[in-house]
Amino acid sequence: MKKHTLGSALLASTFLSAGLASAQDVTLTIESWRNDDLLIWQDQIIPAFEAAHPGIKLQFTPSAPAEYNAVLNSKLDAGSAGDLITCRPFDASLALYEAGQLADLSDLDGMSNFSDVAKSGWSTDDGSATFCVPMASVIHGFIYNAEAFEELGIEEPKTVDEFFSVLNTIKEDGTYIPMAMGTNDQWEAATMGYNNIGPNYWKGEEGRLALISGEQKLTDEAWVAPYEQLARWADYLGDGFEAQTYPDSQNLFTLGRAAIYPAGSWEIAGFNTQADFEMGAFPPPVPNEGDECYISDHTDIALGMNAATENPEAAKTFLNWVGSPEFAEMYSNALPGFFSLSSHEISLEDPLAQEFVSWRSECNSTIRSTYQILSRGTPNLENDTWNASAQVIRGAESPADAGARLQEGLASWYEPQQ
């Protein structure tokens, strides 16, 4: 009997305290695919926000990147999704907005801190409504083992010819695998391969927009040339690269076994903790000496509001804070390699991140060619580009054939290309 009373007293107090807490605080749940960032959210971002805004509690609940879109869509349909939704750029989020699942945030105060280009990934095609607050972009380039470069007496290549002579030197020496990339997972070949070196050939935004308007075709020289360069990479990737996965490549580089890593800036944080050698970075080499350079500075991540949230006011308070300089500075420094898209001046501490961001002033920025509008139909151009890039590197398809196949697929549903 005594035990029983004690038990129910405990039980009652649990319910009571839970009830009290919910009466005072609003808890916002954040959906995200960035499970790598869990600690940064828990240790830095959430405490900073909660300290400034008592009464609002945050919960960061990420899922695995590859499953995020499917999981999120199911949760939204079932009405069990969180209050705040991390937005993929372009069509995935646009579809959610059109289905009424993401709220219109055009009038949010914090939005004024972002340029139109920054907002392009999360606005309707005509730019009239914006539905996610831009958080960060990622820049493509090559990260290299600076100690290996010094040992072999080679320098950062500026042109494609220099790039291949550097690769030859590393290969002849034999101490290092020249370049760490595999084709097993396919996406690296497209993202860190094709869309990394491509903008130099199709002249960034100029080519990308011409492709969307139908003035250029994927069979044009500018779009096939990157495949021709990718086909030459095969000789410099490690043994068995066909079965090499993305984590394999990361480990090969951070263990110091490979000299060059075709990268996205998101790798910086991980590489800083894993690699115990000096690292450097160079932008994708240009085809000819003196050519203007172009980099892929891809709008990658934003934060939107679930239209069905029960706490729209609290969610908006948080989103305004995400648009503030305080958040931009904290996020960019906590996650070197994710560069804030806001117009505020931000000082970065990480040298490798500084190197990446410095290319913004030397080169022209563009975003990945397949992301806006062009991956709306079936067959999906982005998925086909993964496949084609991996095929070309493995030598299973010629660059010209790959271009022709992609063009045929795109033209089958995209009117301006017909």
Partner: protein, 307 residues
């Protein structure tokens, strides 16, 4: 006492069946028919429209869809073929050896061979990916140790080997199931029958071929149909090892991964529940036809023996 209860409606039958029927209807029957129904609709501008069999026309008529479908189906048959050719004969062989009365440590072997079956696909997929990895794997160094390094290839990354490699991994995982079923069937064969055979001069291997094998044929039939259904519903291993794009160049794409990509979408490709349901319906039809062929064509002709 005088009244008979037999004519009254037996309510307790309904009461006892209700939980199972309700749960089964809610989680199996309703979703199944709803999926079949979904295949007859399409969505334009966020409005669902009835289109009859149009989705099937797209799936089998449009070369972009049909090529992927036939590729996935052909791969699926190859996957099944490897299982029938490797998994089931090895399972029978292992069972025959295990049921040998003079084998020592039979219990240990039985457990060891059965254990992979209870492992998760994800563990099996990642473990084998590591074993076969050209960079860190023990496969290249093991082959090197016996001087056969030249035989090593990045199997999972080559179009011509990837699917067979995955099928063999799956065989490794599931060989315990046919082994157990056949083992049980072999144990149920009465000693008297074998002794009678022995008196007639049938011993050793010929006792297996002439007495035991005919008696376990029904179990082999059941195993074949279980393998068929399991293989045509397979998805997990391919997804864990090669991802949803089933690389290289869709060489390992089977109906399950094709369905997943279409239904839930992948990366920039948005999910299409209607075309996904169409594929699911086609898969359902294939499995149904396969099971019917077995039930009416083979099962009824199998001779059964009563002991």
């Amino acid at each position: 006492m005088a009244e008979q209860t037999g004519k009254k409606f037996n309510w307790h039958i309904v009461v006892f069946l209700a939980p199972a029927v309700l749960v089964y209807t809610a989680v199996m029957i309703f979703p199944l028919f709803n999926t079949l129904r979904l295949a007859l609709y399409t969505e334009t501008e966020n409005i669902r429209q009835f289109v009859g069999l149009d989705n099937f026309r797209t799936l089998f008529g449009d070369p972009r869809w049909s090529e992927s479908f036939w590729n996935a189906l052909a791969n699926n048959f190859w996957f099944f073929f490897i299982h029938m050719l490797v998994q089931n004969p090895i399972g029978i062989l292992l069972a025959a050896i295990l049921s040998h009365p003079r084998l020592r440590f039979a219990g240990f072997y039985r457990t060891a061979i059965f254990i992979p079956t209870i492992l998760s696909f994800v563990i099996v997929g990642f473990a084998w990916k590591l074993i076969l990895s050209p960079i860190w794997g023990i496969a290249p160094s093991l082959l090197d140790a016996v001087g056969l390094k030249s035989l090593f290839a990045p199997w999972l990354g080559r179009e011509e080997y990837a699917l067979t490699t995955l099928a063999l991994i799956s065989v490794w995982q599931f060989v315990g199931i046919p082994m157990m079923l056949i083992y049980a069937a072999l144990l149920s064969i009465p000693e008297e029958m074998l002794e009678a055979g022995e008196i007639d001069g049938i011993t050793g291997a010929s006792a297996f071929w002439k007495i035991k094998l005919p008696l376990i044929l029904p179990s082999i039939g059941i195993i074949s149909i279980l393998t068929f259904v399991g293989n045509f519903n397979a998805f997990d291993l391919i997804y864990a090892a090669q991802g949803a794009l089933a690389g290289p160049d869709f060489a390992t794409d089977i109906l399950g991964t094709y369905l997943y990509r279409t239904f839930f979408g992948f990366q920039l490709q948005l999910g299409d529940p209607h075309m996904g349901s169409t594929i699911a319906t086609a898969m359902f039809a294939i499995i149904l036809i396969g099971v019917c062929i077995y039930l009416f064509g083979i099962q009824t002709r199998l001779r059964r023996y009563q002991f």
